[in-house]
């Protein structure tokens, strides 16, 4: 991408950069272009904010804050049988 096309990126290009930004992997022109785009595009700004939050939610939801799922009794029976037959 030339500098000009990077600076005038579309929403499709901008949203692609969300993960790169999270991981600190943006190049110089990408960073500049993205900053410019997010200043003028409210929809992408919203996408970035919501995507950040969703990642945070996912982390919190699946790292202990929540009640655990339980395996069904039937599946535990099957596990016991499988393990028992292996142990004999």
């Amino acid at each position: 991408m030339s500098l000009l096309t990077t600076l005038l990126m579309t929403c499709k290009d901008a949203t692609y950069l969300h993960t790169k930004r999270c991981e600190g992997k943006l190049g110089f022109s990408e960073r500049l272009g993205l900053r410019l785009h997010l200043l003028i595009c409210g929809l992408c700004a919203k996408f970035f904010e919501q995507a950040d939050e969703l990642e945070k939610c996912t982390h919190e939801t699946f790292n202990g804050k929540i009640p655990q799922h339980t395996a069904s009794d039937a599946s535990k029976q099957r596990m016991k049988q499988a393990l028992d037959s292996e142990m004999q």
Binding site: T10, C11, K12, D13, T15, Y16, H18, T19, K20, E23, K25, L43, C44, K46, F47, Q50, A51, E53, L54, E55, K56, C57, T58, H59, E60, T61, F62, N63, K65, I66, P67, Q68, H69, T70, A71, S72, S75, K76, R78, M79, K80, A82, L83, E86, M87
Partner: protein, 199 residues
Amino acid sequence: MSADKPEQKLEPEKWIDKYADALYSYAFARVNRQDVAEDLVQDTFVSAWKARESFLFNASEKTWLISILKRKIIDYYRKKSTQNELNIFDKDTKDDFMDHFFAASGKYEGHWQNSTAPLEWGKDFETSVETDEFQDILTGCIGKLPPKWAAAFTMKNIDDMDSEEICKELQITPSNYWVIMHRAKLQLRECMEKNWFGK
């Protein structure tokens, strides 16, 4: 076998009662399918028994079992990747997925479609995260992602793996990874908006 046998410290007859729920929760959060999660946990117990001599006493039984389960989940994702998921790396294929979100041509090419552009959300995150319903909807939305996208997304956001590690495990290039994450986030955001935040 030496005098202090590994079996003395491992208690396989208690594994299922002690760990089946924890392992199942771990697997379910990542594969989002009950039958698959149950099978993976069962395989984990059997494999653990077979590999009992590799158990190191400085690790806990549970941590050791989880590490075996982790490998099984990654193998599952690898096997599950379909041709459909690989097409997205081919620039010449018509891309209905992206066209759903962004105009394919015209004056506004590459800009949000009116029908799928992000909306203002009526619910906030802090209170959402606490509820069971939110958890179910999030699990459901992650479950609707193609397996490799779900894998990349959960490895990043549940397991805190870095992208190099994820690429290695999923056997994809860094650029495949950016593409996958882009799509995963577009789809997940839309799904959560429709089923939770936009309601």
